[in-house]
């Protein structure tokens, strides 16, 4: 049973006043691949290093399995870590790098050799076992770093942005390999990345950090469809969710159009006071027919999908929106075009928390808002 539990864990670096990781509560299940994601400086590495024992705790505790490891030395924690810059031992050969931890543990030479060979075979490193790290390519070094971890069967694997130094193509490929490897070994893994695509594709669950504070920890699907707050909504998804501040006017308006919410949203809206932000993902914004006019700024045609970047006048200021369309799409930059919302729409309260998710439609500007909301079964 090697679950991991952060309990109110806090770390404040010397010479700083704000905690780098602030009262983190996180439960990681046995065999789970949990991804810690967040922008640069959000405390992901710090959280991982706390689990590794490389940073002391200033508050709270950390458990690995049934054991409180808060005051246990790194070497006694039974963890393996993959570092962002790999941290290979430069004077040792690939084989010795991979066998290093086993040697420290007093594993006999013969067994060490077979286990290193076995790991090298899995990672396609067999031809390089006698080389020094500096004679390897970036991708090979990355695999040695992985190999150093997998020759061991530790309680937990820790990986700090292990793919960030690879080129884009290799990164995607290695991503899959890491997921498969983790599934096969079934070892509890904490994986840190700043790349939300990596997080969403790899994690069984994803924990989103911002300024050292945990925002939400959920399955990728739930993070995407039910973000707990504005930060998560904006951070997860690419291109990012359209977030439109609509102030405290009722009815809600986007540009010159009224936003009409389906029933549950409408009821919830009545409960909220203060400024509101409306959020809808690019795929929920349809370009073509629609009551609201916007200008096309740029069109990104990726072949499988088209991102249309739009601008319109909203509350006296220019507002940028993104729509994701299926090809073919033949609008040109500069064209004026109609907009309609066709999917999930989220309402966020003044404090950033999500109040309700519902569906919405845009009503033509001329229609008086009160009348429209009564006579409206008009979702496409």
């Amino acid at each position: 049973m090697t679950s991991v539990r952060y309990d109110n864990a806090t770390r404040t670096y010397e010479g700083t006043s704000v905690p780098a990781v602030d009262a983190l509560d996180l439960d990681i299940g046995d065999g789970e691949l949990l991804v810690l994601v967040g922008p640069s400086g959000s405390g992901k590495s710090t959280a991982l290093r706390m689990l590794a024992g490389l940073e002391p705790l200033d508050g709270g505790s950390i458990r690995i399995g049934d054991r409180d490891v808060s005051n246990v030395r790194p070497r006694d924690r039974d963890i393996a870590m993959v570092f962002q810059n790999y941290a290979l031992y430069p004077q040792l050969t690939v084989a010795d790098n991979m066998g290093f931890a086993l040697k420290q543990a007093g594993v006999p030479k013969e067994e060490r050799r077979t286990r290193v060979r076995e790991a090298a075979r899995v990672l396609d490193l067999e031809p390089y076992l006698d080389r020094k790290p500096k004679h390897l390519s970036g991708g090979q070094r990355q695999r040695v770093a992985m190999g150093r971890a997998i020759v061991r069967r530790p309680a937990v694997y820790l990986m700090d942005e292990p793919l960030s130094n690879l080129d884009a193509k290799l990164r995607v490929q290695t991503r899959t390999e890491v997921v498969e490897l983790q599934a096969r070994l079934g070892v509890t893994t904490v994986y840190v990345t700043h790349d939300q695509v990596e997080a969403m594709t790899m994690g069984h669950r994803v924990a989103v950090l911002k300024d050292g504070v945990l925002q939400q920890c959920d399955t990728p699907r739930k993070l995407y469809h039910e973000p707990l707050n504005l930060f998560v909504a904006g951070f997860i998804g690419s291109p990012a969710m359209n977030l439109v501040p609509v102030g405290d006017e009722r009815p809600l308006r986007l540009g010159g159009s009224a936003i009409e919410l389906a029933r549950p949203g409408d009821a919830a809206l009545a409960e909220i006071s203060g400024a509101i932000t409306v959020g809808f993902r690019p795929e929920a914004l349809q370009v073509g027919e629609g009551p609201l006019r916007a200008k096309i700024r740029t069109v990104e045609d990726l072949g499988s999908e088209v991102f249309v970047h739009l601008s319109l006048e909203h509350r006296g200021q220019p507002l940028a929106l993104v729509s994701k369309m299926m090809p073919p799409f033949d609008g040109e930059p500069g064209d004026s075009i109609g907009l309609q919302i066709i999917g999930a729409t989220h309402l966020f309260a003044d404090d950033g928390s999500r109040v309700v998710s519902t569906t919405a439609t845009l009503q033509a500007a001329s229609a008086p808002a009160g009348v429209a909301s009564d006579a409206s079964p008009a979702a496409p």
């Binding site: 070497r75 870590m81 570092f83 941290a87 004077q91 290093f100 420290q104 543990a105």
Partner: protein, 305 residues
């Protein structure tokens, strides 16, 4: 040669005149240096091939390699050469060991770090003659030396270090003076070791001593080699401490002091004395060549990493 140098400095090959124009300002200094160092050297070589006694004055005579032939059978020369080796190897090894120990102690954050580091470096900043005098009079002296004072306080009998163990006394002084130099080199090596590698080793289960033995020592090797070679090149030529502390007293005459004794120090046999100094120079050149190779290897290694 000109073109390779030119292309390395600028992307386009420079004309010969251009490259010479660039070097012209350096020329006076270069000529001066060559005159100052190479002319005496060449003259020494010439002297070493002659039989030239000043007292009593005899005409200088070319004897070819005769002086070198006599070296082999000269008991005093062999003794001096052996002392030179002792006074080089012992201080170099002693100071590299102590320097490494101090560097390991200094390679962490503690209160008053800067002050301690500066104090530890001071022996290296003293003039060799001053070092010799301090140790001879303040430390080793039989009557009022600090060491004997401590020995007496502990109930022992005082030892006349300099007359009983002249070579070891000089070696101890040299170790004291050279430890800071080695410490600085090793400290630079320690601080260039990547932190994440050490952290990886910790996570991989290595003990602090295991990390030092399996990783740090290997990382420090080129730095130690550099320290050893630079120290050797310098220490093989040590003269001041010998002259000040023992005056070449029982068994502590090394080659440089022997050269002095055989020439202006009273021997007045410039031909043979010159041949000794040439031997020292050749030994130094061999060591320095190796040192430079190590140094360039070190720089290249840093580039790759």
């Amino acid at each position: 040669m000109n073109t390779t140098l030119g292309t390395r400095i600028a992307p386009r090959p420079l004309g010969l005149s251009e490259s010479w124009r660039r070097r012209l300002p350096l020329l006076p200094a270069l000529v001066f240096t060559i005159l100052l160092t190479q002319v005496p050297f060449v003259m020494s070589i010439w002297y070493s091939l002659t039989d030239w006694k000043v007292v009593p004055p005899t005409p200088r005579q070319f004897v070819g390699l005769g002086n070198y032939g006599k070296l082999v059978s000269d008991h005093f020369f062999r003794q001096a050469a052996w002392t030179s080796i002792e006074l080089t190897v012992v201080p170099v090894l002693g100071s590299i060991l102590l320097g490494t120990a101090f560097a390991l102690l200094l390679d962490r954050k503690f209160f008053g770090q800067g002050l301690v580091r500066t104090l530890l470096i001071t022996p290296f900043l003293l003039m060799p003659v001053v070092v010799g005098l301090i140790w001879k009079n303040q430390m080793f002296h039989g009557l009022y030396g600090v060491i004997n004072w401590v020995i007496e306080k502990l109930g022992g009998t005082p030892v006349e270090f300099i007359s009983r163990y002249p070579t070891w006394a000089i070696a101890a002084t040299l170790i004291w003076q050279w430890t800071p130099f080695m410490m600085l080199i090793i400290l630079a090596g320690l601080q260039s070791q990547p932190g994440d590698v050490l952290e990886a080793a910790k996570v991989d289960g290595a003990t602090p001593f295991g990390i030092f033995r399996q990783l740090t020592l290997g990382h420090l090797r080129p730095y130690m080699e550099l320290g050893i070679l630079l120290g050797t090149v310098y220490l093989i030529q040590v003269y001041d401490q010998v002259a000040v502390m023992t005056g070449g007293g029982p068994g502590s005459t090394n080659l440089p002091y022997f050269v002095f004794e055989r020439s202006i120090g009273g021997g007045w046999d410039f031909g043979r004395a010159s041949s000794y100094s040439i031997v020292v120079v050749i030994a130094s050149i061999i060591i320095a060549t190796v040192a430079l190779r190590v140094l360039s290897g070190l720089l290249k290694g840093e580039e790759i990493a």
